[in-house]
């Protein structure tokens, strides 16, 4: 089943995995953490604590009754010093629970390794762990693991591609927490009644592939296979991964479960492995800190809610005034407006640039070279889409299937005229949605 000859179109981007050898360093607890109440797709949480409350490590401090949400836990022990309104990285409003850490890091009494007898119990435990898709999408995991057609789901795909340049946090997990990954995978497969598991890893991480394979052997060769994938961008995108591993075509808006697969990131799976051992919820995150403006590139395990400025300071501070700070990788990550924002669950990198890549390049005329056509994994036609966006032609945009675009950025990356094609598709999707809602 994993045999497949045809690949989707892809591009080569420089890997820049400078921190690949950097073992994860545990960051000291900062004086204050700023824990966002909106760390997943879906409804934001409402704070369960108020100013002056004392909290312990792993204590739930935010939750919501809405199904599409996940509880949020304190990453430190200390006193709640305030509930603040602030602006989030995407420009929206956000509530932050600010906790002054007492640095004792006392564990909350409620913490214990969860029992997972039935599937319902397992799903409940996954929700209680605070887990969201750690590959970047922050989709609540307990919803992903609870599809309507669970009996049709046969395959677990674990995404260890990590195709974004610079980022190595998944890679470090695969090397440092190999056992948790395999344990987590076996648990998920058992609980959800899946017969087979695949771990897709780009072939530029041979040590991770070897570590995973030898761990599978140690565990008595269960039905989990490591699939080396070509080191091409965007190998780690969900729909690309499903295609490259199973050969199945997955449309935008379709759940992988409809194709009989569930796809999770290695970091999510490793967390499940750890959580069902010691019951400590999602309170810390491995983050790659890199870029030409950081003094000491590193992989850092930092408490959720740590201010980016504190992480930067731990990494030796700025080498020169930063021009761009990215949450996530350079291809799909978000440029943020302030280093005062806190780390959230689905952060996997903070990249800080001062050099040329920080600048927005000047756009020139399209020369019709067709590079974007050859780059798009889904064979969209970015030049036609961008002229349809200019005309605000919702019909043409729909016919050209703009909704299939996953905004991987390959077209913008490859464009010799520096046109923001991927961003244009984002606009195109908004135009189509607007037309549909009329």
């Amino acid at each position: 089943m994993a045999e497949k000859k045809k690949h989707l179109q892809s591009i080569h981007v420089p890997h820049n995995k400078n921190t690949v050898e950097c073992e994860t360093e545990r960051m000291p607890i900062p004086d204050f953490v700023y824990i966002s109440m909106s760390q997943h797709i879906g409804a934001p949480c409402r704070p369960l604590v108020k100013k002056g409350d004392s909290v312990k490590v792993g204590q739930p401090i935010g939750d919501s009754d809405v199904p599409m949400s996940v509880p949020i836990h304190s990453s430190v022990s200390g006193i709640v010093s305030g509930i603040e309104e602030s602006r989030s990285d995407n420009g929206g409003k956000n509530t932050l629970v600010v906790i002054e850490a007492d640095k004792k890091q006392e564990l909350w009494e409620g913490i214990q390794a969860p029992k997972a007898g039935s599937r319902e119990e397992f799903i409940q435990a996954v929700r209680a762990s605070g887990l969201v898709g750690l590959g970047g999408a922050a989709f609540p995991t307990h919803i992903k693991y609870n599809p309507k057609n669970i009996q049709d789901v046969t395959t677990l795909i674990i995404n260890g591609a990590e195709c974004e340049p610079f980022i190595t946090s998944d890679h470090r997990i695969m090397v440092e927490e190999t056992e948790n990954i395999i344990d987590g995978a076996l648990l998920v497969m058992k609980q959800l009644g899946m017969q087979e598991g695949f771990i897709g890893v780009e072939d530029n991480k041979p040590d991770a592939i070897a570590a995973l394979r030898s761990m599978i052997e140690q565990k008595g060769n269960p039905n989990i296979e490591v699939i080396p994938l070509r080191s091409r961008y965007p190998q780690g995108a969900e729909r690309v991964m499903v295609y490259e591993v199973t050969g199945k075509t997955m449309d935008a808006g379709v759940l992988p479960a409809d194709l009989g697969v569930i796809l999770s990131n290695v970091t999510s799976i490793a967390f499940i492995g750890q959580y069902f051992k010691n019951g400590i919820p999602l309170i810390a995150k491995r983050i790659t800190v890199d870029g030409d403006a950081i003094s000491r590139p590193a992989n850092v395990l930092c408490p959720i809610g740590t201010k980016i400025a504190d992480v930067v300071e731990f990494c030796g501070g700025y080498k020169e005034p930063p021009k761009k700070i990215l949450m996530g990788g350079p291809m799909m990550g978000r440029a943020i407006f302030s280093d005062q924002l806190p780390v959230i669950k689905n952060n996997n990198a903070i990249l800080i640039f001062a050099g040329e890549q920080a600048w927005v390049k000047e756009e020139t005329a399209c020369i019709n070279c067709g590079r974007c056509y050859r780059a798009c994994p889904f064979k969209l036609m970015p030049t036609l889409l961008s002229s349809a966006v200019k005309r605000r032609d919702a019909g043409a945009l729909e016919r050209l299937k703009v909704m299939q675009c996953m905004e991987c950025g390959s077209c913008s990356y490859i464009c010799p005229a520096r046109r923001p094609l991927s961003f244009n598709n984002k606009l195109g999707k908004a135009i189509v949605k607007e037309a549909q809602s009329k």
């Binding site: 591009i11 409809d258 020139t364 005329a365 464009c415 010799p416």
Partner: protein, 315 residues
């Protein structure tokens, strides 16, 4: 101190990395690919090849600069596309053409065909091809007075017909295929040496600048039709502008189809029109007309070959 770092921050949409290949680098690679042909031409026709090429490049760049200036557009000479047009135009005329006529050609290419249609990427037809056709029809004598190559000139005979002209009935002896391969024949400056153009073309394919589909289908069609007509296919491929046309003119991004199937149709079309003109037309050579005709129907070819997008079938 707190917000010192934030004063300099830029917020922009992803991706935050772009490939190093930009328009001027693509144009630079094309210029590099034309260099072998330039050297052979200089060797065969002498010093005037250098001055005429430089005049054409200078004229094209200056005209583009002035056009942008007068129409108050953003300056675009940095993308080097005017240099490529100048070089290609020079390569498509005899080496003894007067500078004035060459500059008129540059004006047609840069101002009329390119600038007035909206600049780089917006032109309907290839500027150098169209300029060459305009010069050919306006200054037919000057454009068809071919200097003889080095070694064949005598005290009183310095010009002679091209191989295709001889084939069409002009006085002269057909050159050997070896001479044509290396370029010791009469003709436009840059089109004579098959080997030099082949080196440049393969270089462009290797660097990923052009796809091999158009040149291969163009050349193959010419060879097949020549064979079917009972003529020497090797001769037809190396004679006239087939090589320079197939590798450097028909592959122009703006005026050729974007998808592989379209490129195939385009290449075959160029080959067919070239051979129809050569075999049945009154002109000895048809490459420029063939490419121009195909340029014009390129948008229709593109519309014809819309491709299947990933997914889109609801299960």
């Amino acid at each position: 101190m707190e917000n010192k770092a934030n004063d300099t921050l830029i917020v922009s949409s992803a991706p935050h990395l772009v490939s190093e290949v930009d328009t001027s680098r693509i144009m630079g690679t094309v210029i590099l690919a034309l260099v072998p042909s330039f050297f052979v031409s200089t060797y065969v026709f002498g010093f005037r090849v250098i001055t005429l090429t430089l005049v054409c490049i200078a004229a094209c760049v200056t005209l583009e600069y002035l056009f942008n200036k007068i129409t108050k557009k953003k300056q675009t000479i940095g993308d080097l596309s005017a240099v490529v047009t100048g070089m290609l135009l020079a390569f498509n005329v005899p080496s003894n053409l007067s500078y004035i006529i060459a500059i008129i050609g540059c004006f047609v290419a840069i101002v009329i065909v390119k600038g007035l249609f909206g600049g780089l990427g917006q032109n309907v037809a290839n500027p150098a091809i169209t300029a060459r056709i305009v010069l050919f029809l306006s200054f037919t004598t000057q454009m068809t007075t071919w200097p003889l190559p080095r070694g064949q000139q005598t005290a009183d005979v310095v010009t002679g017909p091209t191989p295709l002209g001889i084939l069409k009935g002009a006085n002269g002896v057909l050159p050997s295929n070896t001479d044509m391969f290396f370029g010791f024949i009469g003709g436009s400056m840059g089109e004579i040496s098959a080997i030099a153009l082949l080196i440049g073309g393969i270089f462009l394919i290797w660097r990923g600048i052009i796809s091999p589909i158009i040149p291969v289908s163009f050349i193959a069609t010419v060879a097949v039709i020549a064979l079917a007509a009972g003529q020497d296919p090797v001769f037809h491929v190396m004679a006239g502008g087939v090589m320079i046309g197939a590798f450097f003119m028909a592959t122009d991004y703006a005026t050729s189809p974007i998808l592989p199937l379209g490129k195939l149709i385009f290449g075959i079309g160029c080959g067919c029109f070239t051979m129809i003109i050569r075999l049945f037309g009154s002109y000895p050579e048809g490459v420029s007309f063939a490419i121009l005709l195909m340029n014009i129907i390129t948008p229709h070819i593109d519309n014809f070959c819309e491709r299947r997008i990933f997914g889109g079938v609801k299960s």
